[in-house]
Symmetry: C2
Subunit: 244 residues, 2 copies
DNA sequence: AGAATAGTGTCTTTTAGACAGTATGGG
DNA sequence: CCCATACTGTCTAAAAGACACTATTCT
């Protein structure tokens, strides 16, 4: 910024994606096996470098979403998660990664990557508990993404992003239960979710299940922020702090 | 990432700071007048390019905090706000900016900048209403920062960052009133704020004011997240959406 | 005593939590 | 008729909102 001959350093910019979805009532994250060094053969978040100098960051995220996950922008929630730029995080040099959080409804299996040997949905518990080793600082990024999702379920309509365009209340409850790892009372959930203004709106038809009474269908309402918020049950696994 | 001769593009990385504080019961943001092109003479957020290739992002934020605002890390809350990387945002080329949100208690006036002609606290309303023109996309960044602060006041102990290490309950209420632009009932606020576990803890002495009964002093508690959260009164200025 | 600010108590309304019964489809 | 799932009520406990009084310091 000065005229004394100093020039600011340049960095490589990467975009990484934390794509979350629900499978068998558990939260999964999409991981791809790296085909090149560094961390060849280790699983990592889908992502890559900026395509060209003039590519917008959000466009790059959409491009990776399509290339590595085969997901089109339709019905996929995408938001910026944060920047990860610790100096030593990439052995190739100074690489700063912009992480995006994507929430997708359960989709048909196919996930074919271009520059990834293998792509697959992995339960987030397996990643967070350390059972699965990830490249770079991607475990931390996954952890932050999951925490973001958990938190935004309280105050925003993010849960609807895990569902298709039409969903039942029981489905929506399943989202909350899976992401928060809790059990909720269906009766109180019905009452609560329908009392929050603009959260969900009923649509005509009903869904015919294999067995049991057909359920009413809803779609996401107009309000993105929930007032009052959905309340997460107190987890008995909370930390106490010392008094000085 | 491939071996076909393509090399990923490099970008310039900047760090910008949204520093918020309270002055005369109003939220202010620190702006500096730019001494060089582009936007010479226009006010902008304090910030600058990465010092060297191996500088950590958070370190860079702390450095700018000291250089441009004269603030040491003590008693200053600093968190990442987001990345701003639209292709055309900087006429000098592809500059990606990592924005940090800083919350500081009211401090002695002096704010002496190095590469800024003039630095000063500006009411955020003046910035957000467009009364003050800012360089680059900095008005948007300020807007995001303010919104982040407003939101986190509900669910975290961020309000204590606006106060010094010791504060009274009335002071804390003033923070909520200023940031949210609302009036709160002192009696309900006293009850509420003391019932939230780990939010504030009493310390021995009392503060002697110029007039009136001395107030008890508190300090920030151990818990960073508030359960249950502080509830923001419903603003009558909320948007409605159409029904399809 | 009076002014000014700090702090406490009570009542009412709303919301959350726990729990049981009825309704509607397909065999 | 039985099963499985969808939905509706009711009671109770806790929290939020509205409001009035007492307490402590200084001049």
């Amino acid at each position: 910024m000065n005229d004394d001959g100093w020039v600011p350093p340049q960095v490589l910019l990467a975009v990484d994606l934390v794509i979350l979805t629900l499978r068998e009532s558990r939260m999964h994250v999409l991981l791809v096996e790296r085909g090149v060094e560094p961390f060849r053969g280790v699983r990592a978040l889908p992502g890559g470098f900026l395509g060209h100098v003039d590519e917008d960051l959000l466009d790059a995220a959409h491009r990776e979403l399509a290339e590595e996950a085969g997901l089109t922008a339709d019905h996929v929630h995408l938001e910026q998660l944060g920047v990860y730029g610790a100096p030593g995080r990439d052995p190739r040099g100074r690489v700063v990664s912009v992480a995006y959080l994507a929430i997708a409804p359960r989709l048909p299996e196919p996930v074919a990557g271009t520059d990834a040997l293998e792509a697959g949905w992995t339960p987030v518990d397996a990643v967070l508990s350390g059972g699965e080793r990830l490249a770079f600082d991607h475990r931390r990024i996954v952890s932050d993404g999951v925490e973001r999702a958990r938190s935004k379920l309280e105050s925003t309509a993010l849960a609807t992003a895990f569902c298709g365009p039409l969903f039942t209340i029981a489905e929506l409850q399943g989202v909350y239960e899976a992401v928060w790892s809790v059990r909720l009372d269906p009766r109180n959930f019905y009452r609560k979710v329908q009392s929050v203004d603009g959260f969900i709106e009923p649509v005509g038809p009903r869904r015919k299940p294999e067995v049991g009474r057909p359920a009413r269908l809803f779609r996401a309402g107009a309000h993105k922020t929930l007032r009052p918020p959905m309340t997460r049950p107190v987890d008995s696994t909370d930390e106490k702090a010392v008094e000085a």
